[in-house]
């Protein structure tokens, strides 16, 4: 950085406001405060998306009330895993997008598919500049009767499916979904399926905590539940005395 004069406070609405060095001097970063899995399934009336409320700092569960599911507009919800500061930044981009769309006042508004596409462009573009937003995003919503559920990763990979997950959820929740998901599940069935997967994740993902939110997006609107805890089961005979048959084992 010798010879380069750092400066701050360019026009505050420029993309380089508040940066001490402008332009492409950034490099791939490391995540610090991270969220774990996000799960999503389509059901009869819309889309259900779930995540816990943990913000981990390496192996420490540092924050236990981080909202990783956020509505954008009236028809769409974004859930994020990965670096929380980057998710917070993505929300400001999406806010501007939605505001801009609203200001057209043309009787039309962006669909979940449109928002998914926009985010894919953002994520892929930043990846090409070796300056990624360190997140995997789950985007879900309902517009004009169409139920939409998709994923964008930090390298710009995007796809849609009937059930999706990020992070550990891909390994633990997707197999459950593949087995038990079917078209036109009811709200109860869908919620139970998500809770089953969330419980497994709580047992088996060290970054997961027992404090989850489930969001329901239908044609009527978006409803994100208050955080709640899942029922866990530790009452197995084999758990009470696991080393009886082999003392010293685990």
């Amino acid at each position: 950085m010798t010879g380069k004069q750092p400066y701050v406070g360019q026009a505050l609405d420029s993309p380089h406001a508040f940066t001490l060095a402008p332009g492409p001097t950034k490099h791939t970063q490391y995540p610090y405060v991270t969220g774990t899995s996000v799960l999503g399934i389509k059901y009869k009336d819309g889309v259900l998306i779930a995540a816990d409320t943990a913000g981990s700092y390496g192996s420490t569960v540092r924050y236990k009330s981080v909202e990783r599911l956020k509505p954008c507009g009236k028809h769409c919800l974004i859930g994020a895993s990965g670096e929380i500061s980057d998710f917070q930044q993505i929300l400001t981009y999406v806010d501007k997008l939605i505001l801009n769309d609203y200001m057209w006042d043309d009787g039309n508004n962006l669909s979940p598919r449109d928002i998914h596409n926009y985010l894919t462009r953002v994520m892929y573009n930043k990846r090409n500049n070796f300056d990624p937003l360190w997140n995997t995003l789950v985007i879900g919503g309902v517009k004009n009767g169409e139920k939409y559920l998709g994923v964008v990763t930090m390298i710009g990979v995007q796809f849609e499916d009937n059930h999706v997950a990020s992070g550990f959820g891909n390994h633990l929740a997707r197999p459950i979904f593949r087995d038990e998901w079917h078209e036109n599940m009811t709200l109860e069935e869908g919620t139970q399926l998500l809770e089953k997967a969330l419980t497994v994740l709580y047992y088996r993902d060290r970054s997961a905590i027992n404090k989850v939110q489930v969001a329901n997006i239908t044609a009527e609107g978006i409803n994100i539940s208050e955080p709640y805890a899942l029922k866990t089961n530790w009452e197995y005979k084999a758990f009470k005395n696991p080393t009886a048959g082999a003392v010293g084992s685990w």
Binding site: V8, G9, A17, F18, T19, L20, A21, K26, H27, Q29, P31, Y32, V33, G55, Y57, T60, R62, Y63, S65, V66, E83, I84, S85, Q88, Q89
Partner: protein
């Protein structure tokens, strides 16, 4: 023969640190230790890690001393201009978000964890945590710095909602001194800053007046050795 232990000549100033802020019913209490290290050497044993951003908002600094100082300086500079333009006191939320923009926008260059806390007439007392990376979270209380690792369990048990000023300050002093007892990068004195509707109060708890914990012993004047 190789000289060892001299990395501290050139090691960057780091505030190993324990910092903390707690919201109580009338305002906020900020607390910090006072040790600044360069490697293993204690460069400053009486630092002040609680820095003013505006009359009603202060910031606790941890991590690299240089980085946290420059971020605070820029935040104070922008807030000063903002206050002039706005015509009234800045809110804690604004101050915290300015610090956050600096932290997030320069995330690949900076290594500092911040806690911004203060009082404004809209939200009363508020505490904002800005860890490495530039995440911003409003919380009822927050800790930071290397010493904070030793406080998770303590605070899980000892923090209660609805504390008053005395209880909150007692909690802060106790927590920071417990962290200082175990974290080599934290030590010295405990400084607290109380911010409420009437203004700012600074308190000072010298190192030798802090409570003693497990395996620590009190001072006693030198005693003559017993004769053989």
């Amino acid at each position: 023969m190789e000289e060892f232990g001299c990395e501290w000549n050139d090691a960057p100033h780091s505030m190993g640190t324990t910092i903390m802020a707690v919201q109580y019913d009338g305002g906020v209490i900020l607390g910090a230790d006072s040790r600044t290290t360069t490697g293993v050497y204690v460069a400053n044993r009486a630092s002040d890690k609680i820095t003013e951003l505006t009359d009603n908002v202060y910031i606790c600094r941890s991590g690299s001393a240089a980085d946290s100082q420059i971020v605070s300086d820029y935040a104070r500079y922008f807030l000063n201009q903002h206050t002039i333009q706005l015509g009234r006191d800045a809110t804690v939320k604004t101050a915290a978000n300015i610090a956050r923009e600096l932290s997030y926008g320069n995330k690949s260059f900076l290594e500092c964890g911040l806690i911004v806390a203060g009082w404004d007439k809209y939200e009363k007392g508020s505490v904002y945590s800005i860890p490495l990376g530039g995440t911003i979270l409003r919380l009822p209380f927050s800790t930071g710095g290397s010493g904070s690792s030793y406080l998770y369990g303590f605070l899980d048990q000892a923090w209660k909602e609805g504390m008053n000023k005395e209880e909150a300050e007692e909690l802060v002093v106790k927590a920071v001194s417990l962290a200082m007892a175990r974290d080599g990068s934290s030590g010295g004195v405990v400084r607290t800053v109380i911010i409420d509707s009437s203004g700012v109060t600074r308190n000072f708890y010298p190192g030798d007046k802090l409570p003693l914990y497990y395996e620590e012993i009190p001072y006693r004047p030198t005693v003559e050795p017993m004769s053989a």
